[in-house]
């Protein structure tokens, strides 16, 4: 048992022993007592807690039974059960990862043994412990925060898509919630004409909005950057400072100001147009109260708020193009538009590509631009039932469903949809990164 072959033939034995009990291989065969003891202690804690873990997982599967006779605070609360279950799953996930690491560590120690023909000493391990623990200690705040404040909430949200957690009738603590499989998906994707229609409308507008918002802001920012770069006007810095202002003012504030300025009946813009004699009291422009016009207004106001970011970005990228390139082109007799098309545009586009994609995904989820400007208004025919209004995009609809209608299950289905659509963009961006390409990861 204790005899260890250095020709690689004991690999299977170590693998099995380390798999039987966490840290067993370290303790018995590899003689790394400290490390082995730590691993073993962890597994023992988990075994002691196992019944409790099992009970919590069981509750997550049943989501509680209706108990009409008990007072409210003693009833099974399905949502707490679901969240506790997901929290436990997160803990189990960490445990399984550590188990995996322990097996890997045993195997790699054995590999070193095969190469050097001696086992590492325990003392050496202790001195190395400080260095080895640094990455773990450094990442643990990130892992904990992300796991419990980002991953668990998102997994919870995804799970809710498969339950009937919605008003009326299934809101804890008065009632329990049950798993319903794909019923919500079926309902929203064709099961009910009103809801399916609203979903199609909102999804189409979300994509149109994200495309229009990204393209207008990018083009607007680039035009301003190029014009200021080309013009030989002395006071360009003054203009640049003015154009940065929308980026510096909190978007929420500027959106609320615009909302008031654009108000159809008492807004300053319409009143100004009346004073100028361009229209009468009867023919005021319904900037935000006509469903079609409101969409254009939202894109336009978003251009106001969003072009400075891309202007700054383009200006930064343009300084990276060498001045010799511009000079050479001009000596060769290239006109301004030729220089722009052949030099500025391609190089700036190339450099800012990842940020364009990022901006597109950001706009799909651009809650603030819609919510604080129009609040999703105006109402359209199905708004009373679905709470999806004329300029609502997916995320603002999710907010309405959660806060106003308490249809949590439908909101969760929409969140899953956004994930399915946006995840490929994130992976595409990941594969483009320099560190990924250089195989460093």
């Amino acid at each position: 048992m204790r005899t260890l072959q250095s020709d690689g033939s004991s690999r299977k034995k170590i693998f099995i022993v380390s798999l039987i009990f966490m840290g067993l291989a370290h303790l018995t065969i590899l003689k790394q007592y400290v490390k082995g003891a730590l691993f073993a202690l962890l597994e023992m804690v988990m075994i002691i807690l196992a019944p409790k873990i099992f009970r919590l997982l069981q509750k997550m599967i049943t989501l509680g039974e209706p108990q009409p006779d008990l007072p409210i605070f003693e009833k099974d609360n399905s949502m707490f059960m679901l969240i506790d279950g997901i929290l436990i799953l997160a803990v189990l996930f960490i445990f399984v990862s550590l188990y995996f690491i322990s097996v890997r560590s045993a195997l790699s120690t054995y590999k070193d043994y095969c190469a050097t023909d001696k086992l590492p000493e325990s003392k050496k391990f202790l001195s190395e412990f400080g260095a080895k623990a640094f990455p773990i200690a450094g990442l643990s705040p990130l892992v904990m925060l992300i796991l419990f404040f980002v991953v668990v909430p998102l997994v919870f949200s995804a799970s809710v898509a498969f339950t009937n957690y919605s008003a009326p009738g299934h809101i804890p603590p008065n009632n329990t919630v049950d798993w319903v499989g794909f019923d919500n998906f079926k309902f929203l994707f064709g099961g009910n004409a009103t809801w399916t229609g609203a979903l199609g409308r909102v999804a189409a507008w979300t994509l149109a909005w994200a495309t229009a918002a990204t393209v207008t802001c990018y083009a607007g920012g680039m035009i301003m950057a190029v014009v200021m770069h080309e013009s030989k006007i002395k006071i360009v810095p003054v203009f640049r400072a003015i154009f940065i202002l929308p980026y510096a003012v909190p978007a929420v504030v500027s959106m609320l100001v615009w909302q008031n300025l654009l108000n159809g009946s008492f807004g300053t813009i319409n009143r100004t147009l009346i004073e100028l004699g361009l229209m009468t009291q009867a023919t005021t422009i319904p900037w935000l109260s006509n469903a079609t016009l409101a969409k254009f207004t939202v894109v336009l106001i978003n251009l106001w708020a969003g072009f400075p970011y891309f202007m700054l970005l383009t200006m930064g990228s343009m300084t990276a193009i060498s001045k010799e390139t511009f000079e050479a082109a001009r000596i060769d007799g290239a006109s301004r538009s030729q220089v722009f098309r052949a030099i500025t545009l391609p190089s700036v586009l190339y450099q800012t590509m990842p940020l364009i994609i990022m901006s597109f995904t950001h706009n799909i989820n651009n809650f603030g631009a819609i919510f604080f400007l129009t609040g999703g208004n105006p109402m359209v025919s199905d708004s009373t039932t679905t709470s999806a209004k004329g300029t609502d995009i997916m995320v603002t609809w999710i907010y309405n469903l959660t806060i106003n209608l308490q249809k949590y299950s439908y909101a969760a289905v929409l969140a899953v949809c956004i994930f399915v659509v946006l995840a490929p963009f994130a992976i595409f961006n990941f594969r483009r990164t320099k560190s990924y390409k250089e195989g460093e990861l």
Partner: protein
């Protein structure tokens, strides 16, 4: 390329030398040089020995050409440039007016008497100037309390974001470990979601750790929401710092933590400053989580307080503007001071990833 045409040097022939003639007068340059070349080749063929004299004659001839052909070319060029410049100036002024209009109007509303926007004059500052809204803010509302709460949340969020993100970014950049690739990809996928999608779960988790209606609960939410994107941002920056620096520190006996704090952090200070600004400004106007988590009167933030002025029930637009102005002015000053750094940081984020 020269960009300043107002400093037009006068050349030896007394002709105004337009620095722009290389840009748009390409044809003129070509014609001229052909003429010169023809002339020179004739001269050299006739008098091959006396080069100095040829050069001297050449120069005189060149001046004559300059005077005759360039005078006309330059006149057109100058006229063209002047119209172009005027056109650009008008364009920039028009855009500036559109950009400034809502901001100027909001500032004027903050100083105007009355409550709703419907009572305000359409001309900024047209309905008189008063500071009564500011007095009311400080005397009749909890503005100072809101401000203090928000300042505390923003400061704590900023400091903790810098610590967690830069430390994790350092580990991601310099160490190799299991699941590294998976974790990096997970961060990138997670950053596409707005945090409020999981707000019910976050509410329950805060309830479990007794973080409801507390300022530190808000900090935890904002911090967790900041981590995914910003860790990537800082990691890309640290990747570009030469490893020779930390290796030198290691050889001198510095521990990993020491290397991080005294070598990496100072080197990464531009991106850290950027991160500090972004994470500090974020919480000031965050509304959704503040409304969900902070219920009691004493824990309200600025966003909640200001929004209470423009609810459906009452529309005190002027009060809202006054309150927002106090917050926005330091922001604007801050952005204007740091705009150069913002440009390079934003470009860096695009170039380095």
């Amino acid at each position: 390329m020269k960009t300043n045409s107002d400093q037009t040097p006068i050349n030896d022939s007394g002709e105004l030398n337009q620095p722009d003639n290389l840009q748009n007068g390409g044809d003129a340059v070509v014609n001229e040089s052909t003429i010169k070349d023809d002339h020179r080749s004739k001269e050299t063929a006739e008098n091959p020995e006396n080069k100095d004299e040829v050069v001297e004659k050449d120069r005189v001839f060149e001046k004559q050409i300059n005077k005759k052909s360039l005078k006309y070319q330059n006149a057109i060029q100058r006229a063209k440039n002047r119209t172009y410049k005027a056109f650009v100036l008008v364009f920039l002024v028009l855009v500036s007016l559109v950009v400034l209009y809502p901001l100027v109007y909001a500032v004027s509303a903050a100083f105007s008497p009355g409550k709703s926007i419907s009572a305000l004059s359409i001309v900024p500052f047209g309905s008189g100037v008063t500071t009564s809204h500011f007095q009311r803010l400080f005397k009749e509302t909890n503005y100072i309390r809101w401000f203090r709460n928000t300042l505390m949340i923003a400061t704590a969020t900023s400091v903790s974001t810098i610590l967690v993100c830069s430390l994790s970014a350092y580990v991601f950049s310099r160490f190799r470990f299991l699941f590294k690739k998976t974790m990096m990809l997970a961060l990138l996928v997670l950053q596409i979601f707005p945090s409020f999608i999981g707000m019910i779960a976050i509410y329950v988790i805060l309830l479990r750790i007794k973080g409801l209606d507390t300022l530190w609960g808000m900090v935890l939410i904002y911090l967790a929401g900041n981590i995914p994107y910003n860790t990537w941002l800082v990691k890309s920056y640290i990747d570009a710092i030469p490893r020779a620096y930390d290796e030198a520190a290691k050889i001198d006996g510095a521990s990993n933590a020491r290397t991080f704090f005294s070598v990496i952090l100072p080197q990464a200070s531009p991106i850290i400053t950027f991160l500090a600004i972004v994470s500090f400004t974020g919480p000031w106007m965050e509304f959704i989580f503040a409304k969900l988590i902070l219920r009691s009167n004493e824990n309200q933030t600025l966003a909640l307080g200001l929004f209470s002025f423009v609810t459906d029930r009452k529309n005190e637009f002027t009060m809202f503007c006054a309150g927002a102005l106090i917050v926005a002015v330091p922001f604007i000053v801050f952005f204007l001071i740091t705009q150069k750094m913002l440009v390079s940081s934003l470009a860096g984020a695009g170039v380095k990833e």
